[in-house]
Symmetry: C3
Subunit: 210 residues, 3 copies
Amino acid sequence: MGGLSFLDLANAVAIVAQAMTAALAAGRRRLDWFGVATLGCVTALGGGSIRDVVLGHYPLSWVAQPALLLLAAGAALATIPLARVVRRMPRTFLVLDALGLVVFTVIGCDVAVGLGVGTVVAVVCGLATGCTGGVMRDLLCGDVPLILRSELYATVALLTAGLYVGGLALGWPHDAVMLGAMCSGFAVRMLAIRHAWRLPTFSIDDEPRL
Amino acid sequence: MGGLSFLDLANAVAIVAQAMTAALAAGRRRLDWFGVATLGCVTALGGGSIRDVVLGHYPLSWVAQPALLLLAAGAALATIPLARVVRRMPRTFLVLDALGLVVFTVIGCDVAVGLGVGTVVAVVCGLATGCTGGVMRDLLCGDVPLILRSELYATVALLTAGLYVGGLALGWPHDAVMLGAMCSGFAVRMLAIRHAWRLPTFSIDDEPRL
Amino acid sequence: MGGLSFLDLANAVAIVAQAMTAALAAGRRRLDWFGVATLGCVTALGGGSIRDVVLGHYPLSWVAQPALLLLAAGAALATIPLARVVRRMPRTFLVLDALGLVVFTVIGCDVAVGLGVGTVVAVVCGLATGCTGGVMRDLLCGDVPLILRSELYATVALLTAGLYVGGLALGWPHDAVMLGAMCSGFAVRMLAIRHAWRLPTFSIDDEPRL
């Protein structure tokens, strides 16, 4: 790791963006400053941690690079004074959030592929890295995770992961595949927000007692 | 793994059954199709994953055999068109669910015993494998886990795990112990549902502020 | 481990205290006896388990020493008949609870330092060991974790961990640092309860849809 790669920079941006979403969720719940910092770290680093534990990939990223912890906690705390400004720029925020989703997803796939797992597992690891942080944030805040409700969020992660892992499996050049997967996922997410795209839902009204 | 053993088949049936319970829970919450598949995978494979992570037993079953992921997701999605039929056969469903519980519990004990842990830990691993998937399902759906309320569910897992690990410790023949533990647990679960057996509960009305 | 060290004894006391808090939470939710024992084990041993999994530190403490499981489950179950008495001694209870917090935190730091991680990670591991059990208890009971609300609980863990890891890093004698960190954390916690100290909270009323 002689210098910072594009992926390292994108990772840092994604951590900041995810920590800021966590801080805003914390603000809605009136958490204290420590809660804001904790929720920021869990949201920004939780997905990658779950992936590393599942794959037995030690040490975890934030154990190897504690600066990531400080970055996530700092970004969450910095959101407190910035909240008034950030709330007036929802579009900037959604752009950063979508960037975080596709970056985390590609990094998750990248780690899994580097460990030699198969295609399906690599896609699932990308998905888990991209989405799990937000699930943890919602669980800690007492909400049904957004990802399980009618959002195209996880589908975007699945698309991004599928394009990246599929492109690599076909032998296409790494950098082109990475950029193509990120841009496609990002574009679909932006279009999905704009046009309120949703997957069909499954709904049953009553059910026998299990 | 020259051929499929009885335990492999039972495992597949249990995964399908647990994924179907997850899909029905997802339907009550009106999740989208992606949420249905995700909840199916977490419920059907979550218990075994927690057990493997706790024991440091890598790779996880679904990393080694990604077909299990597709089986769980497929079973959950297949429940969507089947929901009308399944809801008319609560008894079939409860039978499959109880089968899943005892199979997962015995598999969990089996893995732990194979790693050379002691009796108490093996029983706890069986219990965790049998019950944790359902706990994760309930947490993600925002419910207090059923297992913590007045159900004999976990007690059945404890009984099954105790019989299996105890029988092996006494040097009884493996296959007889396995079948005996599964059948006993299954029978108790059926009787508990039929007669609404419950453990006594602990209830306090108020408490000093912690 | 020729004899029981002071830390082993403190650990046992902390496990008992945390399992008792879990049992009281279970009683408020009218869980059955099995739920009481399970919640006791998860609360008393969950923080250390998460720390060990995150650090790849196998085997987990309760796998190596299954007696800890029996201790936690036994303490939780013993709380059922004791509940009437315990509720009349809130002060004793809070003292034990605060003792558990600082002991778990110092043990968490100790394990992390022993594995050679850096200062920041060691502090986070202490924090996680001290607080995560209670978070799991609250999640399983369907509450927003207390730690994320206006309590000085986690701040005490942070202070304790910071003093311990900082003192060791400065080369001060181990036993003096350990006792100093525990006593400082304990005193601050007692004062915080007495005077209702709180951190400032972050609160926003509405927010654009993410």
